[in-house]
């Protein structure tokens, strides 16, 4: 379990792709990918739109605000889904909160 400081970071911090990860459009397929040393992660459009926001300048509220204009999903559901997605990437060492 993340300790309190990790928890507050996730609530109030700004998510940012790790230095070792890079978001990119695959020139061959035209689809978005997340690249790191050990993997090529194929992203869907939603994944790409979330990660585009994770440049360390926006907090979670601002990210949900930006995505909310594009998706009709309820904000609480959207927040939960985005949080889970970012948490998974954090576990793989590809994203952190600053």
């Amino acid at each position: 379990m993340p300790d309190l400081s990790d928890g507050s970071k996730r609530l109030f911090g700004r998510p940012c792709l790790a230095k070792r990860a890079r978001l990119q459009i695959d020139p061959v397929s035209g689809k978005p990918v997340l690249l790191c040393q050990e993997a090529v992660i194929l992203l869907n459009r939603t994944g790409y739109e979330i990660l585009e926001q994770c440049d360390g300048t926006r907090n979670m509220i601002e990210i949900i605000e930006a995505l909310g204009t594009r998706y009709s999903t309820a904000k609480t559901t959207l927040t939960q889904e985005v949080s889970e997605y970012l948490e998974k990437l954090n576990q793989r060492g590809l994203l952190q909160w600053i």
């Binding site: 790790a18 230095k19 070792r20 890079r22 990119q24 459009i25 695959d26 020139p27 061959v28 397929s29 990918v33 690249l35 790191c36 040393q37 050990e38 090529v40 954090n90 576990q91 793989r92 060492g93 952190q96």
Partner: protein, 372 residues
């Protein structure tokens, strides 16, 4: 092009020259005098790789920092949209150079360490003071703001200090730690009886690595590469022959795996004579073990054949003399006893001064002794 049948990764072996002499180096023991590709040839190779679908390039060697055109090659790769990783001993990295590499678009630096303890590390590398230079390199990588990852090859002489190695990587601020059990090809095969650990050592190490992976999730990615000599099933080598990756060696030969040069009877093509696209799609070497058609039994009738692809062709060739045999690491291989015996018959009291140290191409000495 079909997404499932394109290469994703290029390992660019820029030179075989190396300041280290690690006795487990996977570089070929049969290399001929390399006539290294020049800057233009590498640039063209990288651009062709990108057109073929490659998304990641690892600059390796030998020691890639010995090429003074490294920054140019990183830049070309980055301009082509590739993820760029530098696989280095760290020896020779200056702050100036690291800053230039960052500016050229380098994404990640992987520094190899031989152990956490300096004297042991230098004895394994066969060079005095190497560990200190590596520490300095790791600090430089952090200071200029590049992502740092560490690679430690595990064997009988350092596997017992795995906890110290993990703590050491944490302290250095690595974002990723690759703990790779020795694979017995190249120089490692020559030193196999001394390098091979005991089953108990391997099991303890696996537990320690697994604990660390959970404990450090989100802070440092810990990757533990299982030793196939201690497994019942072979590793899915390269994710299948000619499926995802290829290597270009210093002389421009294109190999389905970094150690494929060792396979007798296989003819390889070079980027000096053919396009990468032709080599990937049409060459005899890449077609030879692609897919499952080439497989003999027990692989042919095995439900695992699409999972492990029959294991490693280089290992089959090295241990049985025939690259189309089932990898002897598989318990169903008729040659499986060769792997079991290698574990059972390891040296009783191995001493590091009897290592056959890796030599550089054209080196007159049969073996380089540790001067540390």
């Amino acid at each position: 092009m079909d997404l499932t049948h394109r290469p994703y990764g290029l390992l660019a072996e820029l030179t075989y020259r190396c300041p280290l002499h690690c006795p487990y180096c996977s570089n070929s023991v049969r290399w001929e005098k390399p006539f290294e590709l020049n800057t233009l040839e590498w640039k063209k190779t990288i651009q062709e790789a990108s057109k073929l679908g490659v998304l990641q390039v690892g600059f390796s060697g030998g020691e890639p920092l010995l090429r003074n055109d490294l920054e140019q090659l990183v830049q070309v790769a980055r301009e082509a949209g590739l993820y760029t990783n530098l696989i280095t001993s760290g020896v020779g990295l200056t702050e100036n150079r690291a800053a230039r590499l960052l500016e050229s678009g380098l994404d990640n630096v992987q520094v190899s360490f031989q152990a956490a303890e300096p004297d042991l590390a230098d004895r394994i590398a066969g060079v005095s003071n190497a560990h200190k230079l590596k520490l300095r390199a790791a600090e430089i990588v952090n200071r200029v703001g590049l992502a740092l990852s560490l690679n430690v090859v595990l064997h009988r002489f350092n596997i017992d200090s795995l906890s110290e190695i993990i703590a050491f990587a944490e302290e250095l601020g690595a974002t990723r730690l690759e703990l790779a059990n020795t694979q017995y090809y190249g120089w490692a095969y020559r030193n196999r009886s001394m390098l091979i650990p005991t089953r108990a050592q391997v099991e303890t190490a696996a537990r320690i690595a697994s604990d660390a992976r959970h404990r450090l999730a989100g802070k440092m990615k810990v990757l533990y590469v299982l030793p196939d000599y201690f497994a019942n099933r072979p590793k899915p080598c390269m994710n299948g022959w000619g499926q995802r990756y290829f290597t270009v060696n210093p002389s421009g030969f294109v190999l389905p795996c970094p150690t494929a040069w060792e396979i007798p009877g296989l003819r390889f093509d070079t980027v000096r004579e053919r396009s990468l696209a032709w080599i990937w799609k049409m060459s005899e070497s890449f077609s030879r073990f692609r897919g499952t058609e080439w497989m003999p039994d027990p692989c042919r009738s095995c439900p695992q054949k699409e999972i492990d692809f029959g294991g490693c062709r280089c290992q089959a060739a090295l241990l049985t003399g025939d690259p189309s045999n089932t990898d002897p690491a598989c318990e169903f291989s008729p040659h499986h006893r060769l792997v079991r015996e290698a574990v059972d018959r390891r040296a009783d009291q191995p001493a590091m001064d009897s290592f056959i140290y890796r030599q550089n191409p054209n080196s007159p000495a049969e073996s380089t002794r540790c001067n540390g």
